[in-house]
């Protein structure tokens, strides 16, 4: 039987949290020319059986949550990125060269149970 969908989104459930990484705050602005930082975001929250079927989850996340209910020693399903997007960074290397590098999967757009 499929568990009932959660009535209201709880703050403790798996969801995307905003996280802006400022290169200036980290002192990395000395070699990173652009961007000034990026919205990295992160995933955090619980993936209980009652929501594992609804929260953008993989089928395996539901199975793992189910197994965890049966056997508490099984680790629970975890909150992970389900959609990521890239960024390009412009920076300077040790030889005064300027490099534009493309990094796939750097920004968390969506989270789900996995």
């Amino acid at each position: 039987a499929v568990p009932a969908a959660p009535q209201a989104a709880s703050r403790s459930l798996c969801h995307r949290h905003q996280l802006f990484i400022s290169f200036r705050d980290l002192g990395w602005h000395k070699w990173i020319i652009a961007p000034k930082g990026f919205m990295a975001n992160y995933c955090q929250g619980e993936c209980p059986l009652s929501v594992a079927a609804y929260l953008n989850s993989s089928n395996y996340a539901f199975m793992q949550a189910l197994m965890q209910v049966v056997d508490p020693t099984v680790s629970p399903a975890v909150c992970v990125p389900t959609k990521l997007s890239p960024i390009s960074m412009l920076y300077q290397d040790n030889g005064d060269n300027v490099i534009l590098r493309h990094y796939e999967d750097m920004v968390v757009d969506e989270c789900g149970c996995g």
Binding site: L26, K30, A34, I87, S88, N97, L100, R101, H102
Partner: protein, 224 residues
Amino acid sequence: LALGERDFLRFLGLDAAPPPRQPQPVPRVLQKIAREREAAADAGLARAPCTVAELGAPGDALRALPDRGFLLPSDSCLQRLLSFNLSAIPDREQPTAAELGLDLGPSTYEELGPALELVVSLVPQPGLRAGPPRGRGRAVAEQSVPRPHGVLRVRLQGALQHAARRQWSRLGLLLDVQVVEDGEPGRHRHPRALCARLRRTLRATLLVATLDPARCRHPARPRR
């Protein structure tokens, strides 16, 4: 986070933090590409993974290598040895495309024309202190420029591959600029003002696209 700095630098492909020297000027072409990519990302437009679309080649990085060469005494309008440090490209990265950008300066009504003829030749293993190259090597690009202004782009994939095969640490190119008076090839003269300006202001940058197989296992095929 301070502990993570070394890991982050390695992630960027750097062995150590660049020393706090004068920040390098960012070539306009890289600024433009970076702005366009940022705008596309903000608009949610998807990019082909592991492709440097701007050069139509596979890759995940685009380097602007500054010219470390020098002017050569010559009867031409301008002759310059262009020298680019290829050792800045780590061994693990494969060069996939190269484009030479020659900034011919702004255009004004007084300086429209005359036309130029540019020849770029490969110089085997140039050394900065070795003096001028002996003779001209294989021509890798020849181009007529009817209205010399702005940035001229010359594709140099063959020259880069040649240098990479021979594991040269530098790419040396001989740039020879001749003036074509009245658009008639062969009637080369030396309009002093234009040539003097070019000798003073010409800037060269080599854009190199590279692919790191560890980051890009299945690069998209370049479009024809």
